[in-house]
Amino acid sequence: MRFYLVDRILELEPPKRIVAVKSLSLAEEYLADHFPAYPVLPGVMMLEALVQSAAWLVRASTDFQKTVILLREAQNVRYGAFVRPGGQLLMEVEAVGIGPAASRFRAAGQCEGQQAVQARLTLEHLNIADDDPGRADLDAGLRAFWRQRFKLIGGPQALAARAQP
């Protein structure tokens, strides 16, 4: 499978909040295993969707400076309703604080009006060149990749919508 868990950014207010959506399709391969008789979005994929939403908020808030954004800590991840194929996970992520190397968030996802997941997250941000200055080219490539992907999922439109009075 692919590992992109944000299909569209709906609202974006850097450095405060993001609203994004993950649509669940029965064409996604892992659903064949989870579970054969009852396909549902795995709980950790809900968490990953929240992590990736928060990562977009970090990129939009820091001009894409750091290229690798990873989950460092998740706390109190609670699950409610299942997300089934044809359903959409609507994610709302609020920043508690975004620093240069780490950030903290409160995040929740709902599906068809029911709470599906909520969590507190800490992310870490880094550049590959932090560890290995000889690989700054990888950062440049990733930065360009993220900027292009941001356009694909409606980032600029979400920013523009916010700029309108």
Binding site: F3, H34, F35, A37, L70, Q75
Partner: protein, 173 residues
């Protein structure tokens, strides 16, 4: 990709603790998206590996009668990045005992001597009132993949050897 985030069990003590390993390989598709040019095994999939290790441990304790689902990740902390070529070891221990309503797991992930992650999680036994009605009594959680994983050869050395049968030798009176 498939949805199975452990490769084999290497230790298993019924209702108490289980240890599984997972190899991280560039042959896995998700590593090419996470991230392009810089593959890192996603922390969330390590949580899932622990959920599968702990879920089988909890499910087996009641002979896979209950539908065991992940109800809460109390805390997951990651200390090191895991990259292709690494083998991680996932150790899950039941906190207290498996109860009628579910169980808690205390988990550690290591790579060699290094601590990769500490994960605490809770499982619930999905009771019939919350279970999807269309499923009836089928236990959709424990697919054959997991049960086969548990019964694979790797665990045999942990069990007492089968009694040796005396084989009649040919050519002897």
């Amino acid at each position: 990709m498939r949805w199975i985030w452990i490769d084999k069990f290497v230790e298993f003590e019924r209702g108490r603790r289980a240890v599984a390993v997972k190899n991280v390989s560039l042959a896995e598709e998700h590593l090419h998206d996470h991230f392009p040019g810089y593959p890192v095994h996603p922390p969330t999939l390590m949580i899932e590996g622990m959920a599968q290790t702990g879920g089988v441990l909890v499910g087996e304790a009641l002979d896979f009668r209950e539908k065991v689902i992940l109800a809460k990740v109390t805390r997951a902390r990651f200390h090191r990045r895991v990259v292709p070529g690494d083998q991680i070891r996932l150790e899950a221990a039941v906190v207290g005992e498996v109860r009628p309503e579910g169980a808690s797991i205390d988990g550690r992930i290591t790579r060699g001597a290094d601590l990769v992650a500490e994960i605490q999680m809770m499982f619930a036994h999905l009771d019939q009132s919350r279970a999807p009605l269309e499923l009836g009594d089928e236990n959709f959680v424990f697919t054959e993949d997991f049960i086969r994983l548990l019964r694979m050869r790797q665990l045999n050395h942990l069990a007492p050897p089968p009694p040796r049968r005396d084989v009649p030798q040919e050519g002897r009176p």
